[in-house]
C-alpha cells in the first residue's frame, strides 16, 4: 500500500475519532435536553462517515475492488437519524412541555404529541 493511501486512511480515521469523541462530550457538556439533541449528530455523520470512508479506501487498496457495504450503512444512518431525533424531541415535549405553552398549530387539528391522529370516519369525510 502506498504512503499516499495510508495518509488518506489515517487522516480520515483521526478526524472521525475526534468527531466521535466530541459528539459524546457534548452529550455530557451541554445543559439542556434539547441542546443535547444537537451533539450526537456529529458522531452520526462525520464520525461514522469518516470511519466508513477510511474503510472504503483501505479495502480498495487492500483487495483491489470497490465495496458498496459502507455506502449502505451511511445511507441507512442518514435516513434514520432525522426520524430518531424527531421521536426523541417528541418524547421530551410530551413529558416536559404543557400543551398551552406551544403556539397554535394553525390547522384544524392540534399538535400530534397531544392529540390523536385524524383517522376517524367523520374526519375522513371532512377531509373529502
Amino acid at each position: 500500500m502506498s504512503i499516499f493511501a495510508e495518509l488518506i486512511i489515517s487522516i480520515a480515521l483521526i478526524v472521525s475519532g475526534i468527531f466521535g469523541f466530541v459528539g459524546s462530550y457534548g452529550l455530557i457538556k451541554l445543559k439542556d435536553s434539547i441542546q443535547r439533541l444537537h451533539a450526537p449528530t456529529k458522531a452520526t455523520t462525520l464520525g461514522v462517515g469518516g470511519v466508513l470512508i477510511a474503510s472504503m479506501v483501505f479495502f480498495h487498496f487492500e483487495k483491489g475492488h470497490i465495496s458498496i457495504h459502507e455506502l449502505l450503512i451511511t445511507l441507512f444512518l442518514f435516513l434514520t437519524a432525522p426520524i430518531t431525533a424527531n421521536f426523541i424531541a417528541k418524547t421530551y415535549m410530551a413529558r416536559n412541555i404543557k400543551e398551552d405553552e406551544l403556539p397554535p398549530s394553525t390547522s384544524s387539528y392540534g399538535w400530534s404529541v397531544y392529540d390523536d391522529p385524524p383517522g376517524t370516519e367523520e374526519d375522513q369525510t371532512r377531509l373529502l
Binding site: G17, V51, S67, I88
Partner: protein, 89 residues
C-alpha cells in the same frame, strides 16, 4: 501509520462510550437516556467497522448493518413506549 490511527480512533470511541454511559446513569429525563443509548449504538457501529479494518476482513459490515437497524428500531420502540404507553396500538 494506519495502526496508530486505528488505536487513536478506537480509544476515542471507547471514551465516548464511557461518556454515554455516564449520561445514561445521570440523565434527568427519559429523552436523555434514549439519546445516549442511540449514541452508544452509533459508536458501536464505528468500533465494529474499525475492528474490521484492523483485522483486514470485510465480514464485519453485516454485523454493523444489523446493529444499525436494530438500534433504530429499538430507539423508536422506546420512544413510542414513553410517548403512548404502548409500542403497537
Amino acid at each position: 501509520m494506519i495502526e496508530y490511527a486505528l488505536i487513536f480512533a478506537a480509544t476515542c470511541y471507547g471514551v465516548a462510550l464511557l461518556l454515554d454511559l455516564w449520561r445514561i446513569a445521570k440523565g434527568p429525563d427519559a429523552a436523555d437516556r434514549i439519546l445516549a443509548l442511540d449514541t452508544m449504538v452509533i459508536n458501536v457501529i464505528a468500533l465494529l467497522v474499525l475492528y474490521g479494518v484492523w483485522r483486514g476482513t470485510a465480514i464485519y459490515f453485516e454485523p454493523a448493518m444489523l446493529i444499525a437497524m436494530v438500534g433504530f428500531v429499538s430507539t423508536v420502540a422506546y420512544c413510542r413506549f414513553v410517548l403512548r404507553g404502548d409500542i403497537i396500538e
